[in-house]
Assembly symmetry: D2
Homo-oligomer: 299 residues x 4
């Protein structure tokens, strides 16, 4: 993995990161690598995936910024010609790893994921510029402000049918930052479908179960009732269908008959934190490519 992701960046560690997906055929790798060689690009990471199920090709490549004689905008405009050759369905991005990505967090009362992400961002481990935290309760206002980050309180009505204006306010508070990621860090509210679509590919949720088991409310209670021997957490993109979006990362931890719901909640917090932190970091480093209901993760 790139040492650019470790918080010990030096000048020469800046990379230009290309991601691309297109229908598979012979010669794609040759075309892209010839382009990169032509501009002097020194490749430090390269990953490929040919999906035999869908006939789609995916790649992520990172070159040293210092090895290319010009900036990311120029590189992007030159690469557009290559992408055009690969067909009209080609989807691609090209980012400068030196530009930290903007992130907004949505929270409720449970603070463990927020506390964890703030600690990682402060320690330089997460390549994120956390611009704001929006909460439907005030419980996490203090810890947010102590990190020097703006906190916005948007109270939510009890009646789900009356929450439209509150969601609209959240949307405005988020969109002013034009974020690369909107993280539902145990937000506990189901986003309306239009908001899911509006933030498609950017809204990331942490669900406290191993999906597709235990969709919806109180998954630890469901897990306890079923008597499972492992509990889990799932980091996924938000889509209109509840807890059914493309999965970025999952993990589990062992429990046994002696663990009550409160024990599962406690142990599950550790898995939630790790799973969300990994998934978000991969998203911010352009390691996650979405295709249909699934993801390709070049971790």
């Amino acid at each position: 993995m790139s040492s650019a992701s470790t918080g010990h960046e030096i000048a020469d560690d800046r990379r230009y990161v290309l991601t691309l997906g297109c229908p598979d055929r012979t010669g794609i790798v040759a075309r892209i690598s010839a382009f990169l060689a032509d501009v002097g690009g020194w490749i430090v990471e390269a990953a490929y995936h040919a999906d035999s199920d869908t006939g789609w090709f995916f790649t992520r490549q990172a070159v040293r910024a210092s090895s290319v004689g010009f900036g990311v905008d120029e590189l992007r405009s030159r690469f557009a010609e290559v992408a055009a050759e690969l067909g009209p369905d080609t989807e691609w991005t090209l980012h400068d790893s030196g530009a930290r990505k903007r992130v907004v967090l949505l929270v409720s009362k449970e603070g463990h994921c927020l506390h964890d992400l703030l600690g990682r961002a402060a320690g330089g481990e997460l390549p994120a510029d956390i611009r704001a935290v929006v909460g439907n309760h005030r419980d996490l206002e203090d810890v947010t402000r102590r990190h020097g980050i703006d906190f916005h309180h948007v109270p939510f009505p009890k009646d789900p049918a009356e929450r439209g204006p509150a969601f609209e306010e959240v949307r405005e508070l988020v969109d002013v930052h034009d974020p690369h990621a909107v993280v539902l860090a145990r937000f506990m509210q189901v986003l309306p479908a239009p908001l899911c679509d509006h933030w498609a590919g950017r809204a990331i949720n942490i669900h406290h179960s191993f999906l597709p088991s235990f969709v919806g409310a109180r998954p630890y209670h469901q897990a306890f009732a079923r008597g499972v021997k492992l509990i889990g957490a799932t980091c996924h993109y938000v889509t209109p269908e509840l807890d059914a979006g493309p999965i970025i990362e999952q993990d589990v931890i062992r429990v046994d008959h002696a663990d009550e719901v409160a024990d599962m909640v406690r142990q599950g917090r550790d898995i939630e934190k790790l799973t969300l932190a990994r998934g978000l970091r991969w998203h911010l480093e352009d390691r996650v490519l979405v295709h249909g209901r699934k993801t390709v993760v070049f971790s």
Copy 2:
């Protein structure tokens, strides 16, 4: 754990193993341990669980057989008085670990679980006396016979509605051995409800998913379609509701976007083997106590 379970048994390693479940109250441990002390029982393993959800108490205790001055039948008849004091709902068993438990295996075409269990039994690791293998295909007849074990072929009609007589034949072939465990080692047939009830607490299945995800047919195909990042296996008691019986053991293994269904099948086999072997060993060593839809496992 008991070294009795390692296949390196010596005379002094024989144990009398008590399991008991009853409504919780003060003094149960004292009553049982006073009884064991009275008969000279040297306790080598003792485990307890007080279930606050159901108000039930569970224990498993193993004493050195050589420390008790008489046989397991006598011990059983004496303990019956203690059990009676603990109330009419008390359920208990008392076994001599020196008596290997009888096991019958049901199989179809996939041989990895059978191959694994035969190897473990032959190596002395599994305290099982495998009496027979029943298959609805002949694929696994040779490997079974090479281990000196009887194989019975019971062909199943294509039409599920006509399988009654075949199940009846399986039942007879199994029941002649009065087995402690009937293992569905990738049997791929749904047992009729009466058979589930008849073998209640003895029929053990290995399902190739992390339940309750992916119930029913072709779970690896379901997992592939959903894009999960871990696949699993579940060892559980068979009940009339499909794949919903009390779970004994589960485990998972990591997969990624590059794994096709065939890769999941291959990797999943390792988890299936381990999960079934662990669950079956615990069952045979009287480490699993069933209560309602859940298990207490004193592993």
Copy 3:
């Protein structure tokens, strides 16, 4: 596990927790459980271990405080008679879980373990009363004070031979709190032998390798040079021999050829945090019994 450990304590959740180790013989369980039944103790957790290697017996039992008609001091003085019957080598403790244990943390520059423990203590997950943090650098002073906890800076001379007075000052700053645990949360200083002996059974270290691999300095560099496929962390009691004390908990995480030292450092932090948090919680809940160079952990 005890819901007392989940931060959702209610009055009835208070327990009296007994730990005991003594030479094994018949009747110990009966003697202890008869005593507990006599005082009306409702057992909510009970665990036993008979160590065949050393011939030693270990137990931990938790009874509801409300089920006993008097306080922990009275219970302790009554139990002393039972303990005396079990022989002069018997070691035992009896604690009231309602009394939070006092903890002092020793730190240097790396803040991830400190940040994690402060978050867990604030969230009620760790039954700890963190009384002070002592650092040989000032880097972690701010985060400590923001949590309302005293920070003491004790500069250490470069020359190890001249560090005696600094260690003496640390000792005084710690001992004023008479702590149940002195946690070396990435303290990076080797305690002098007399200090190890003084805090024996209370000083807990987190070492950033899977011991006994990679003892001493820069374990991630050692792991990288050796090309291991998993890296780990070890939580252990501090003894005069470096990194050789009784192990409380260990865990590992997978790495591969693409992970440089900086990646291992980043990923290892997650394992260090989890391993230390689990080990410390078990210590504070009287779940760890030390015997010789090893531990019995009733987790």
Copy 4:
């Protein structure tokens, strides 16, 4: 991953697999992929690694055999020119996945790894043509022959100083097959240095500990004495320095204070089997590139 490894091979699943290592510089990927595009190669797997520590570049690429208009020998002779351009230190291989690799197993008395590998090879999961088994005891002769494989018994003298002729006989029995892999499946004998050199890059050992912990004899006894909380297994190439060769794969399993040496032996067997099977499969599929004391594993 390649579906070629799943035992469900069809004609179109045959691949030509290229591995290459050379000093890193700009344009290597472009040169190789241009060559593959020129010959019509449809890339189904491609992996790269640029090692910043050594300045070395590694790749593994698999193309559909059917997409190239000629055989592997012709492809190899054409690629030689490309390799020459990449400098005199370049090391590369080019294999046809349709040609099963030859394997010889060395065993002693413990049969679990042998039993496991024979089962996987028979099931089509392992792309191996197991040509012979050589044992210094006769314990595993029967199980080997039941699989229709030759077994050679070479007794070893008690005195290590007199084992030279026995090793010479083993060498001859192995070399007659010119194997791609010589697997020490719990062989329990230390190979003489000249034999290590002779089979360099082909001799694969399974050591029953998480190296570098517990080198040498009786690692489970060492683990028990130290009181570790996880035990492991390591699959590595054999080199003259004992248990110090490049590591291919490692895994661990949790143990606790209740596990005696015999329990560790039993549980460790499962990890040994899995670790060896994975490492050997990767070796046979040309997924392991050795560089100095370490490996690059494109799993």
